[in-house]
Symmetry: D3
């Protein structure tokens, strides 16, 4: 067995997530609940590149040594790998320096996962992959029942960035334009800074987007904000969770392409992701914009890996249909 696809770029391939089984053939995905897909591209960034090394870094950022054996989440009391069948589908067959070909390959890979009945979890890569990622899910479930929960410092719904329409700053615009997503089914958390311009927000308002600026998290706390986020997705049968790691403050996620000071803490993000996965019907997920050349001691990659684990744990508990069972001590003797 060869672990690499033919003519695969050097930065693609390699380890599997959590040392899970590698299932490259989409025909063999059937029966799995979740499939990890790598999307090692950064051709669409406007500032720091490097996210092409993201999938590899996230997969390797695993202190615990992966499964088996696996163990329950201390706070939820559920072992995601016991409840869910999770496999690693390898990396999409991206082409270095050919953004369009890479996007087609990512869409093909995610579509294969979806068609096999698995939930895709895509490891980016820059945020332009939201277009093929969410698009492939939408192709399957349709826009009417599909929601998007989007954690990001940036709204990523501009019409173009430096004149480029297929950019990491525009995927939401493209998805709405082509009917993959309805604006009213999109909710964003963590927006801050000076981008995009008011016209973009005006467009989003027209489309029915909802969003929560970082300042709202500061003032109300992440808990109440997430209650609203979850509430705004009620009634939708399928929710895609898109986590741009730059939603966190650079202290927690230095290894990213467009860092924006003043963001979420790791605790806030992990808690928020867990809640989404637990309370909403996840149909797909992506973690994007991890740029290892700018990381230190793997702190960003470790956080991204934990974001995936939190989501898997939430999904597992949701599947079991029971309450969290945190490890509790016996109380005072």
């Amino acid at each position: 067995m060869n672990v690499a696809r033919t003519n695969e770029p050097a930065y693609a391939g390699g380890a599997t997530f959590a040392k899970l089984p590698l299932v490259l053939d989409p025909g063999e995905l059937t029966g799995a609940d979740v499939a990890i897909v790598g999307a090692p591209v950064d051709d669409a960034v406007s500032y720091r590149p490097g996210a092409r090394f993201g999938p590899r870094a996230i997969r390797l950022a695993d202190v615990s040594g992966g499964a088996p054996p696996s163990r329950p989440h201390l706070e939820l009391g559920v072992d995601p790998f016991e409840v869910l069948t999770v496999v690693d589908h390898g990396d999409a067959e991206v082409v270095p320096a050919d953004k369009e070909a890479s996007h087609r390959a990512i869409r093909r890979a995610v579509a294969g996962v979806v068609e096999a009945g698995c939930v895709p979890i895509v490891l980016g890569g820059d945020h332009s992959i939201a277009y093929p990622d969410v698009g492939a899910v939408a192709d399957r479930v349709g826009a009417d029942s599909l929601g998007l929960v989007h954690f990001d410092a940036h709204a990523d719904d501009a019409d173009e960035l430096y004149g480029v329409r297929w950019s990491h700053g525009t995927p939401l615009r493209r998805l709405v334009e082509d009917g993959s997503l309805h604006g009213r089914n999109i909710v964003q958390v963590g927006l801050r800074g000076y981008w995009p311009e008011p016209e973009v927000f005006a467009w989003a308002r027209e489309q029915g987007f909802r969003w929560h600026l970082q300042v709202e998290v500061d003032e109300r706390g992440i808990g109440p904000v997430m209650d609203d986020v979850v509430g705004s997705m009620r009634g939708l049968d399928h929710v895609f969770l898109s986590v741009d790691i730059d939603v966190c403050d650079p202290a927690f996620a230095p290894g990213t392409g467009s860092p924006e000071p003043g963001g979420l803490t790791a605790r806030e993000l992990l808690t928020a992701v867990r809640k989404v996965a637990l309370e909403l019907p996840l149909a797909g997920m992506e973690v994007v914009e991890v740029s290892p050349p700018y990381d230190h001691a793997d702190v960003t990659a470790l956080l991204a890996q934990r974001v995936v684990l939190e989501a898997l744990s939430g999904m597992a508990l949701r599947k079991l249909g029971r309450e969290p069972r945190p490890e509790r001590d016996g109380g005072l003797v």
Copy 2:
């Protein structure tokens, strides 16, 4: 002359703050609202040097690509570069290894800005530059109407450090001594650790300094503390804002010379600076002690750059005399 082409990527072009026009001749500053001045010195530090590279790093730490085009602050709804005319006055004519000459040059540069009717924003450099920075402003407006809001882990009002009187630990003492500042018009935020000694605090108490230890922020929250800070400056016509980046925890600002664990988060600092600039009449500002050799992935420089942007945005909104207009979604459909 503008050193940047329109809509140039952030990583292209050169080194003025936000790619603003470079105006080296003080005679040509007239008409501008704000002038950025670099003070690349670190001859007065007691521990890690490197802040001489601070002005350059802060100027280059610009994810957005600078102006033009510029865009509004998402939470304030104001584009500082549209409301204010901001220019970059280059670096003061510092002399490597001659602290006194450098201080004179910095004072000259800041004085030139002030005389042209602009608000100086000085990028340090170590904190000893507070002496020429604040001094030059005081020369113009007088001590009676001048307040100082000082964010720092260290009080910087010692009489000497290792026997040195012109140190980064002594500028406030020198400013009070020579009548540039009245102690009663000084308020400090974020002090912690083991320095300086009680005699220094006793002196400060006598002078009427007010301060808020970090522990007070922990207990009361940054909001109420900043209400007090702003309140304590009421009635003063001119306020100088001095931000030592080490007021933040080393997680948020590793690239600094005298890191002190247990400090502000980036969110707290950015919120606090915005409030000061919005509610008080800024006559000058400095951001100091960014030491790039100790930074990683530019997180400290990015934070310092955002500190300046927050201040500019606050000043812009204050100039307009209206309330913040955060980008809001349309609410539930």
Copy 3:
């Protein structure tokens, strides 16, 4: 005088903590209140090594320049080096690549400190040293009156890790097994993630361990949790404080061996340690798992150094038997 022991490993020895006097001979420790001991070992780790360089890094991470002169803690109003006699006892005579010999040497060193009537503060080193550290104290005071306050992302009470019984994941199990500690006298703070397995928690519950998951800190706040922690130690005459630096989020402590995103902030940890030292009778302390090869700009080492200083300040104030006297300004004029 030779500052090194004969045949000492390269990474052992060197500077002293806070430039305190070096007292290598245990016979000369008598009269001191506290003795710092280095335990430069990392032979028992399961992921990233490097903690053997921890003691050296923590000792050198001293912005203030050490004592003398020393100065009071701004928030407590006490100078620990004035109230307590603190010395540096150098490093235990560890043997590179011989875990058992190193553990024996550490136990011998800590025992020497305890027998001289000093409180040992051990700088690790990986967490396996809790076995000799706490064990040596227990030998002296007995298990009945000895409590353990344990800050950590990991419970460290597994029976084995990868089949290894003397691991950095098992010291609490070994200590309870050999009667050095009663489970009912142990309280843990900050546990999170996916380790250890439920059987381990079940065993701990049987033994009477108490613990506070990180999620509890998120929900209740560090203050109320620490009130409970201190409360649970009431009635014990001797308390050992074990701080695994990975209890903090990797943003605050990247330089560690088994980073677990979503942890304490530096402010929370420093406040909590101060409270323990102030309100409980410390009989020993350790700060472990600082791994300098993974640190940046010494932020982790600086934090660990401050953890020790906070504890010393708390102990000093407790010795004086008075309230904290924070440096306060004179109020409004």
Copy 4:
């Protein structure tokens, strides 16, 4: 306009090469001998990106503080900035994430320089820019009289890389194909490793390329090899010098995208470049593949900056038409 003050320290001021005047308008280039052009692109790389930050890093990597004042090269006895008029033309108007548009912009910028009668020195950027760089020169002088001296670990004359025809591995193929260069006028130095495949070398052989593998430098020494290189360019009126920094061993140039161990030393490269510039009629030059995110302490950027200075010094001496005059001591007294 000169962006630097006279005798300004290296770490002060902004970002033109050697603090030369910035001349953005091509119409104002006339009269200059040399114009520096930045080409901040890395969209065509197959492994590590980051070269988009190359132009900025090379410009800033200037220990001497730039001109004025400038000083002679110790070994040649000529001050390039005294003999040649050199300006900085800024960066080409590249478009992030649009490779084709960026290439057009680079070609336009280089063409503007050439049309003004200046020698362009282009700071890359990845090696795909050789296509617009050399192409623009060829447009002016014609292929018959134009030679290429190419330092590189990689031959860069493949037909495609991962199926991509406009790649950093293919510019020489494209230039020969479109008639900008004749294969017989190309000579390569430093090739090593496992790329490209024999078919590519067969094609190059057919075209008349000459090359010197790294092993030949090992065996014969850089001096004799460079004699052959210069000899092979005799009779050509215009020579373009293309330096891919990865021709050096990663010890000397870690900050690059496709590092290949076993390459030239900095001494060998600097000597070789000096010889080319001194003995051949340079019509253009590029230094490419400097990737700052992978650099350390700027050693790669510093080397690239010195490569440009060596070339300028060689050109200056050639213009003067005299022998090198190294600074010599007075001999034994």
Copy 5:
């Protein structure tokens, strides 16, 4: 298929070398010429640890993207992956913090490779693995016909290091003691510095070791020294090649545990390794002491990867029994 063994440490497993097929079952190795084995251990080091991450880093340090497709070595004219069947046998089943168990696992893995008729190439790990590596080969071929070519800054034939007999400084002593190697069949290259003591060299002299100090390479050149090295192995049917990456100067290999300034260049080492593999019958090989936490931009890992490729290329050409065919240009037209 699960790519991980059960209960594998986090730092083991992952990518394969050159994206070769992964063949974990020793029974399936038959037919392959070479099998790569990882030995992720660093429990036996005396200074900097980290080599446990070496196998992973070396496997991933592959600029070319691995095979297929593969391409010939430019200087030898042979594609190793076309001539040889090479597979990746994964990592030995090491046990974190249990040196003895790990050594047993490594010996078992190498023995499995040897028994299947393949040449093992072991990626370390610290140099203590020479004991199981060479030992397993000796078990098969016997000491009389087995030679060792050993590149290292350190002789590694001490009787103990800090009293430890199974150390990275002692494997040659253990191998000679237990009859796996005859001292007269050992030749060492690159020794320098201050270790070990004269008694150790006296012992080695008695055993018939031959060695070439670094100073001899300085004076005579690597070529003549390697002629002697190869000459001294003549007549032996099996040669094991042990490359400690610290034989190179820290400029070329900073990522190592016991760096010793003044060593080989990458060019010297690569040339020397190629010669050994081409002219001697390799029965096994190891590359050790790559410590990724101390590496920068992967330069050390890249060098180690190229050391393996050079050896494979040499072996391939030896198998073909023909002369090197470097890619040559067509000469002057």
Copy 6:
């Protein structure tokens, strides 16, 4: 015993060189052959600071673990610590941010060493310390019999740098001016780049300085150049050896303040230093311009430490008055 002087800066003090005895009292130096002195200053640099952390880094960069036990140099066959009595005199009582006071303290410390009859080896610090270092030796032995061997990329004999007379670029000028050194007794090796200007070289020529540009080393080899260097010092009774680590290429010494590509290799420098110490009567030595914030994996500090060890070994062999006795194998059996 307190290991720190009172009010010592944080970056001073700490470990001792090679774990040698610490002898702070100059009165107790008598009887020692050599005393190590730290000069932690960088107030006189013109580009990158950080050398204040040099003495500490050099002392700690000791792979071997220091003495005792010590061992012979493999190439010389002499154990410097057996032949010479070497002690560590700690750091001069420098004052942060007071260049003049620091220089006085360094001169005092070196003078104390010289007066005790020991050879001082000073660990810098920036190169301005050559003034107090050499000056203190000259005070003792007089200029007529004192020579200077100076390894450096820069001539350091300018009259001023940016107008500053006490700079790291001017110490030789000051020493000649005040009669401490005669120009005819100075020889320099490794000069390259673009500094200083011809007038400075003209002055040096008048004074009788001799120098060897780097290009001469390239062309003639380090051996013949060093023969000339040693020859030019014949007849002098006392030679001071000044090694600026930037004489090496940045590949070997990235951690320095004014890196100049194209310099010596570590092998060349170590060999050259050994020769000087062996063949000339060393009266003092300094290793300067090691700047740890710019170092990686301690490669620069390790090199500087080895420079000192090479000198000590050479001095030891000279004291014994015998030939080098390299460890030799027994030859072919």
